[in-house]
Amino acid sequence: MNAGTPHALLRKEDQRLITGTGQFSADAQAVGMLFGHVIRSPHAHARITRLDMSAVHAATGVRQVLTAQDVQAAGFTDLPNVVQVKDQQGQPQTVCNMPVLAHDKVLFVGQPVAWVVADTALQAQDAAELAQIDYDSLDVVVTFEDATAPDAVQLHAQAPSNTSVKFEAGNRAAVDVAFTKARFVSDIAIESQRLVGSPMEPRTVWAWHDETKGVTHVHTPTQGVGGMAGFLATITRWPHESMEVHTHDVGGSFGLRGTAYSEHLLVMLSTRQLKKPVRWVGSRSEVFVSDWHGRALRLHGHIALDELGHILAIRFENQVDVGAYNVYFSTHIGARNLSITMGGAYKVPALHMSSHIYFTNTVPVSAYRGAGRPDIAYAIDRLIDHAAHQHGLDGLAVRRKNFIAPQAFPYTTANQTVYDSGQFEAVMDHAIGISEAKGFGQRRADALQRGCLLGRGLAYYLEASGPGGAAKDQVRGSFDPQGILSLHALTGASGQGHETSFAQIVENEIGLPASAVRYLAGEPQHGLVGNTTGGSRTLYGAGSAIKNLCQQLMTQAKPAIAELWACVEADITHVKGEWQEVGGAQRRLRFADWVTSLGAQAAQVHAMGEATSGMTFPNGCHIAEVEIHIATGVAEVAHYWAVDDVGLVISPEQVLGQVQGGVVQGMGQAFGEHAIYDRETGQLLTGSYMDYPMPRAGGLVRHFHHETHAVHTELNLLGSKGVGESGCSGSLPALANAVTDALRQVGAPPIDMPFTPAKLWAAIMAAPRKP
């Protein structure tokens, strides 16, 4: 290209985001705005014996101080737990809800204890330091072993052994029988370690109260205003119509911004009581200890195979750390999301899973990119790889032999999940075909020359995308006199580029140029039904509703076209946004040209599109080659190939972007990220980006190649399967299998994530063979 040649921007979102004119929630200023600060527990487990806020009240600029009593007086409930399950005996799960502000006891470092509002953020912060709070510290449990020990300190009076529930899914007896008949059995215990999700925008909220209308306006980054408004209404017990949630640009979310936190409620209460706008902006240090953490799962997988390598049964015994309380989706992750696809892409006659869901003195856990799906995908393919090597079987052959065949769909798993489509062997062959498999031996020899162990790992993942909580997805579309189509729905973006993808769907369907389409998330929110963004479902959920909207617009316009052409409607048909006259003059007219010709009358053209879309089954094959420097233990991903079946692709650039981002988040977990708590004190030892190794630009992946392999799905109108989480699901097992393969060269046994230089170096040093 020539220097300075202007090119069209790739996405509709980009103009504002590259010029610093986006609207993130912390950017707003309002006249008379006050600033809140949270006083947090410095202890992991303690009784609050004195709470004296008098000095805080008296400090310069302070307008309000709130404690648990004030929240109770306002009638607020605790933060909700979304899913409650039963144990094998039919007893309901013990649910321990987190209070907005702690009363009597604190259960994790960072738990909100009190709230200060002042004229400036610095005044609020300074005043908070004057709080006189006495804590009587208690024993701390941060591991499964400590939490469930017979003499363990109990976090909640109603939860003996710090156990929330022992959940089971599948058929225990059938699995037991299969194991007795097996020729080969294997097991591997792995951990998907606790992570800090870390969207780059720290959590924030500001609110103001419209006295005349009696409506509190809440501005905060979220994944969809519908879900957030629902949680806020539940907790405040305020009428739904007395609050409106507004979200503009969202600086990443990954599951973390979809739910209401204490700060949302405190800001709302203060703004109503003080009759002023109130803002809270979390510091990164605060959100490390108060954003819900992710993962925190230990999965012990067992597999039974017959003499030919057919899988007879898979069993998982899981330990699910939910942190100090049951918040939002933690049970959903540990119970449903781990079990529904626990056979992966394979036909497995018997499945059984148990999940021991327990409490620790740590930040509560909820959804983080995949919410259990990447974890189980990781566990399945590590288990298969491990079993194959242990018994001298060919890992690829075992996969081929056990894949659900294309003609077997719809396929009902032993856990009663119905998969609709897939060509798993073809996708795997596609991936192997692009992965330069033949050169691996030479690359491995070359790596050794440079003092590195090169390992190659393959993984096949399958995941269930989100079914969605709402019954359907609606989208309202209307034209303005300039012929611009405005789309309104509830699903909010946090980097996925909805404005661009949705406009592309409209362009594909009715030929309206993307520049003539505007997407407005959640405005106007009232009267619309729809899902929050999550579980990789937005493109096909809201996207199917947009396709339906486009179809309605075509049908609606038909009489007008007939009138224009002076023919009968029966003589008109339409194909992909173009009207065609059957017979006669065989005239043609594109919808886009028609609507722009209407001028002011275009405002009469509007419709409500809707679609009901359940879960889909994105799947794919990822292959990684990881090079470990023998002298230092530093690992680098030399090559990464991925082939994903995400169904119909709307925006190839954004699909690639989602996969790259997801794979690198997986690399973050594979090679470094780990929220580590001190076992004695319950302090978070990795409480900043100086201790918590986020993936950075350098030294991660030298070569990345991605292709899609679309297999048709009829589970939604659009024919897409979702892509948001597949990068994490494919990368964890591919990378781990590659690391395991590298270590196998020196006879080292499998180790657990994160594969830090220290761990890899120690594994190589302790290995029976020298490189």
Binding site: A3, T19, P199, M200, P202, G251, G252, Y689, R696
Partner: protein
């Protein structure tokens, strides 16, 4: 304390508490909210601006230290249309949520000033002080390569 600086080509003055950080001065006093604050330990680089043409994490500098300096924020970078680095970030899909983008762009501008034709490894090293959680960096490196090509004829 009183200070005067040239912000995106315009002389500006302010009277702020002495502990005010440059990032807060830019955002709260001057309304330049394109400069984002993503951490409090100078690790993420979202707040990167250019002070006398050098990339600086503005959360790491007191406002007073910029007294008399020339400060450029993302809002002032493309005053006459988009800067080639901004253009390249969009074209290469080097941004998703866009929160880290202003800092990434400002750091990249300084990187290309110091090294007009960087290798991919040098770009990765040069941007290792800026965190992105969405893109996986692959396209960010492509974007800086493209900008280098556009600005300096660097072959990709």
């Amino acid at each position: 304390m009183k200070l005067t600086l040239t912000l995106n080509g315009t002389p500006r003055s302010a009277d702020v508490p002495d502990r005010t950080l440059l990032a807060d001065l830019l955002r709260d006093t001057f309304g330049m909210t394109g400069t984002h604050v993503g951490c409090d330990t100078s690790q993420c680089g979202c707040c990167t601006v250019n002070v006398d043409d050098q990339a600086v994490k503005s959360c790491t500098m007191l406002a007073m230290q910029a007294d008399g300096c020339k400060v450029t924020t993302i809002e002032g970078l493309g005053a006459n249309g988009l800067h080639p680095v901004q253009q390249a970030f969009s074209q290469c899909h080097g941004l998703q949520c866009g929160f880290c983008t202003p800092g990434m762009v400002m750091a990249s501008v300084d990187l290309l000033r110091r090294n007009p034709k960087p290798t991919p490894a040098q770009i990765a090293e040069g941007l290792s002080g800026n965190l992105c959680r969405c893109t996986g960096y692959v396209n960010i490196i492509h974007a800086v390569q493209l900008a280098s090509q556009v600005m300096h004829g660097n072959a990709p």
